[in-house]
């Protein structure tokens, strides 16, 4: 198993956002985490990336425990993510956002950077080429030199994915990548997720768009009121009466 979550729980004061959630993610496939609003999906994601310290439970990547470490350690271990609310570096161009994502692979020494030594220039050229190819992968080549604060929302969603990919993650967590996108843009995300899966990147997709989720994922985890309600293949899960009830329960007035 690539990632293992053991009895994860998170309390905010008296509120139990996530309770006793355990699961394991097999490598090389697309996993989805679904559930009604407030089910604890983003809280769970934040625990899997070190942003929240779990109140209880543990997180393992390739059987190495990461619980309690700082978020940048989770990233260094191989967990990448995007954010539900855009967290773009708006003080940089699109290309620089992705180049920043290569930090774990190309940092060089302080002296080489300050004096702009040939080794750094070489590394920068390589970094730039890698970033450009990732922008190409997500379909943003023409925005490469654009100031990121001048880019449309849909492009920024994909820019976040390119930046996360630049770190070369083993596991990529996508927090609502299709939220707020039109059908054409959603189709682009669909295509991109399949492409990444084909390249062997394990993906965790948190998403409300059921068509997207059921189409691309091989394993679905359903959360409801902070608890793990069901998990399994998309077809099993969508036929599960408890899942249907949780969703209908939310939509009924």
């Amino acid at each position: 198993m690539l990632l293992r979550a053991e009895n994860l729980a998170k309390r905010f004061g008296g509120v139990r956002a996530v309770q006793d959630v355990s699961f394991a993610l097999a490598p090389g496939m697309v996993h989805a985490i679904i559930g009604p609003n407030g089910a604890g999906k983003t809280t769970l994601l934040n625990m899997l990336t070190g942003i929240y310290l779990p109140s209880e439970g543990r997180v393992f990547l390739e059987e190495r425990e990461l619980t309690g470490q700082q978020p940048h350690r989770f990233a260094a271990a191989g967990i990448g993510r995007t954010f539900q609310n855009l967290q773009i570096f708006f003080n940089m161009s699109a290309l620089e956002n992705v180049m920043a994502g290569r930090w774990l692979h190309e940092r060089g020494s302080f002296a080489a950077a300050a004096l702009r030594l040939p080794q750094l220039r070489r590394a920068e050229r390589h970094c730039r080429a890698e970033a450009l190819s990732l922008l190409d992968l997500v379909g943003l080549t023409r925005w490469a030199d654009a100031a990121s604060d001048a880019m449309p929302y849909g492009a920024l969603k994909r820019l976040e994915i390119a930046r996360a990919l630049a770190a070369g993650p083993k596991l990529l967590l996508l927090d609502e990548p299709a939220a707020g996108l039109n059908p054409t843009e959603t189709h682009e995300i669909d295509r991109l997720i399949r492409e990444l899966a084909a390249r062997g990147i394990t993906i965790v997709l948190v998403e409300h768009n059921m068509k997207l989720v059921m189409g691309v994922s091989g394993h679905v985890i359903v959360l409801d009121e902070g608890r793990l309600l069901a998990e399994g293949e998309p077809r099993e899960v969508s036929a599960d009466p408890r899942v249907i009830e949780a969703y209908l329960g939310e939509e009924a007035p």
Partner: protein
Amino acid sequence: MASPAAAAPPSASRRGIVALAIAVALLPLALPNNYTYEIAILVGLNAIVCVGLNLLIGYAGQISLGHAGFFGLGAYGTAILATRYGWPTPASLGAAIAGVALLAWAIGRPILRLRGHALAMATLGMGIIVAVVIATEDRYTGGPDGMSVPPLGIAGYVLAGERHWYWVVGVLLVATVWLAQNLIDSPRGRAWRALHGSEVAASAIGIDPARHKLSAFVLSAALAAAAGALTAHYSGFITPAKASFLHSIELVTMVVFGGMASSLGAVLGAAVLTTLPQLLTVFKEYEMVLLGAVLMLTMIFMPQGLVPTLGRALAAARRKPR
């Protein structure tokens, strides 16, 4: 703080450095006497502080209200080592800078783990403590009356005279801007800017926020100390005013006015706000008011600062005719 403008691509910053070097080389043609040279030297020394402070404020997105403390410690550090302990001035200068860097590291390490205004508050406190210590420890510092500082000299050669100092400071300024710009365009500079853009996203790509805030903080403190120590040797006399809270605010105002996340902006901000009080000596009593007004008007009418605002206006004007 206002959302910063996208940083200029490396080629643009190269042009900026060349322009600065030409300006430094040609300026003496416009300087009629020693007094104007003196102002130019003070501009250069303040600009070195501002370029460093801009790495912290404009790029890494952290605020310091105590950089005059580092400036003052650099100045008094070299002065005390040279006069009270008889150290050769190059050694006292180097030791003062290294000492301040170490101090900044020790102060910054615990503080920079916190978010938000913790750094502003802590540096404010630190700056005030430094100013009080300098003013009261008169056995070493001469107290409020200040102390005299020997000139900078190496093996019999003594750096003296406005013209010599001008070239030394000019070369150091261009070198500082060049080093700063190289860092900004490197992975480390992107890490600083990433922290400014979104700390949570920066850590999600493996950047350690505490470590990189600390590196910008220590570097900016060391540059402030270097400029402080050089100012002390140049002036030959220092007073606690150089370490005061007012001077810290002056330095921040220079950075904000010139333009955050722009090294040339920092230089220009230092130039305008160092020269202005010298020209408008009638306003001496109202320096604080003037400074406050500049800071307020900048934040209201050009929150990006002078150079980025002008840059955007120029780019827009160039686009229009077509």
